[in-house]
C-alpha cells in the first residue's frame, strides 16, 4: 500500500528588497494515493509556490514535502508537471516534445519503443494527428494537450497542474477538464490541481484545499467533495449538493478577501 503525499509544516519565505516575505506558513496537507485535490485561493496567495515546491522546482524554507516517508526537494520523474502555459520547446515537434519525456522515463527501451510510448500518450489526449506539427502551428488547447501528454509519458505517480486551463477559452477549457477527468478515472493517479476556478475545482476534485490569503497563507478550509462519480457537467449544474458546496467555497473566499481588505486598510 502506498503512503500519502504529505505537505508538512511547509513555510516559504522570499528575501525581497523590502525584507523577508513569508508567502506560506505552516501549511499542512495529506493527499491519499489516487486522490484528486484542488488547491484554491485568491490570486497571489501562494498556490503556485506550494505546487512548485512539491514539484521540486523551489525549496521550502521550513518543513517540506514527504513522499513514501522521504523528504523530496528535487524534481523527480514520479511527478509530472503541467504549467499554465504549455511550455513546449518551440524547436521540437509535438512528438519530439513528448519523446523528450518518454526517453527520460524509459531510458532502456529501444528508440522505436520510446516512440510508441510517446505516440500512445499523444493518442490518449487526442492529438496524434498533430504529432509532426511544430508547437507554433497548434492552437493553445492543442498545445496544452501535448503538454499533458508529455507529463503522462513520464508515467508518473503524481500529476501536478498549475492553472492548466487558465489561458484557454471556455469551450476548450471544458473539453480539457473532461479529458483530465477521463484520464484520471482510467488509472487514478494522485492529482494536485491549482486553480482559481470554483466550478472546475468542484467538478473535478475529491477534495478542495482552500488557502487563506497571503502573506503567511495556511490551509483555511479542507472541503471534501462527496459528489458521486463519474461526474458530468449537466448533473453538476442541477445538483443540490453542488450548490451547497459552491456556496461554501464562495463564502470562504469572500470572507477571506474581506478580512484581507480590512487588514490592508
Amino acid at each position: 500500500m502506498q503512503r500519502p503525499l504529505e505537505i508538512s509544516s511547509l513555510s516559504k519565505t522570499f528575501d525581497t528588497p523590502t525584507g523577508p516575505h513569508t508567502v506560506v506558513k505552516d501549511f499542512n496537507v495529506k493527499i491519499q494515493p489516487g486522490e484528486f485535490i484542488s488547491l484554491l485561493g485568491h490570486s497571489g496567495c501562494g498556490k503556485s509556490t506550494v505546487l512548485s515546491i512539491v514539484a521540486g522546482l523551489q525549496q521550502a524554507t521550513l518543513g517540506g514535502v514527504i513522499i513514501d516517508g522521504t523528504e523530496v526537494n528535487t524534481p523527480g520523474l514520479d511527478r509530472g508537471v503541467v504549467f499554465q502555459s504549455p511550455c513546449l520547446l518551440p524547436w521540437l515537434s509535438a512528438l519530439d516534445n513528448v519523446l523528450l519525456a518518454a526517453r527520460q522515463a524509459h531510458p532502456t527501451l529501444a528508440a522505436a519503443a520510446q516512440r510508441e510510448v510517446a505516440l500512445k500518450y499523444l493518442n490518449l489526449v487526442g492529438v496524434a494527428e498533430f504529432a509532426s506539427s511544430m508547437p507554433a502551428e497548434l492552437s493553445q488547447g492543442t498545445q496544452q494537450r501535448v503538454a499533458i501528454a508529455r507529463a503522462l509519458s513520464l508515467e508518473p505517480r503524481f500529476l501536478l497542474f498549475d492553472e492548466p486551463f487558465g489561458m484557454l477559452d471556455s469551450m476548450t477549457r471544458f473539453e480539457l477538464q473532461d479529458l483530465v477527468l477521463e484520464l484520471w478515472e482510467q488509472d487514478r493517479k494522485t492529482v494536485i490541481l491549482v486553480t482559481h476556478d470554483i466550478d472546475e475545482a468542484i467538478y473535478l476534485s475529491d477534495r478542495i484545499v482552500l488557502m487563506t490569503d497571503g502573506p503567511e497563507a495556511r490551509v483555511g478550509l479542507d472541503l471534501p467533495i462527496s459528489l458521486p462519480r463519474p461526474r458530468d457537467r449537466r448533473m453538476a449544474s442541477s445538483n443540490a449538493d453542488y450548490f451547497r458546496l459552491r456556496a461554501e467555497v464562495i463564502r470562504f473566499l469572500d470572507h477571506h478577501s474581506r478580512q484581507f481588505n480590512r487588514e490592508a486598510a
Binding site: 514539484a55 521540486g56 504549467f83 511550455c87 520547446l89 523528450l100
Partner: protein, 255 residues
Amino acid sequence: MKSFLTSFALAMTGILCVVLLWAALAGNVAPDLPSPLKTWEESKPFILQPWEKRGEMDQGILRMASYSLVRVAKGFFLAILVGTPLGFLLGSSTLFYRMFDPTIQVLRPISPLAWLPLGLILFRQSEPAALFTIALCSMWPTVINTMHGVRSIPQDYLNVAKVLRLSPWKKFTKVWLPATLPYMFTGFRLSLGLAWLVIVAAEMLTGTPGVGGFLWQEYNSLIYSHILLCIVTIGVVGFALDRLMGLAEAKLRAA
C-alpha cells in the same frame, strides 16, 4: 517586385550622388584626390582581370580580396571557437561572470593596432600575428551575444528541463543551444564585420598580400587611385559578407 525596383533605383541614385560629390571635390578642393574617371582608368587592369597574378603585390583585385577573405575566415573561426564557449560560461555562471566580466570590458575596446605588435612579439611571424589580432578583436560580440542569449532562456524552458530531469548534455543540446542559437548568430554576424574591419589594419602593418597590404603599398608608391580602389573593394566585400550572414540568420530563424 516593384518595391524592390524602387529601392534599387534609390540606392543607385544615392551612389551616383556620392560619386558626383567625389568628382566635384577631386578637381579643385582636394587636388591630390584622383577623380572617379582617373581612378577607373588606373584600376582597370585590376578589375577587368581580377584573378591575374603579375607579381607578389601586383594581382587582380578579387585575388587580393580572396587572400584577405581567407585570412579573415581563419581569424573569425578562431574567434567563434573561443568566443562561443566563453559566452556560454559567462551566461551560465554568475561566479564566472563576476570574475571575468571586468577583464573583458577592459580588453574589448583595445584597437587592433595595439594587439598586432604584441602578436608579432609572441609569434615572430606576420601571419599568426594577424590571425591573433583578428580573433582577439572580433571575438567580443560573439561572447557578449551568446552570454546574453543564455541569460534570456525563458524560465519556463529551464523548468521543463528540470522536471524532466534532463542530463546536462541533453539540457545543453535540447534546450540551451537551440534557445541561444539566434543570439549566437547575431554575435557571429557582428564578429565577422569586425574581423573584416581589422584585416586592413593587420595587413597594413604586416605587409602581407591582400587588399589591406596592397592599399598600404600603393600609398607608399604614391598611386592614390589604387587606394580608392581598395577602399571601394573593402566596402563592397564587407557589405556582401554582412548580407550573407543576414541570409543565413534569416534561414535559421525560419527553420
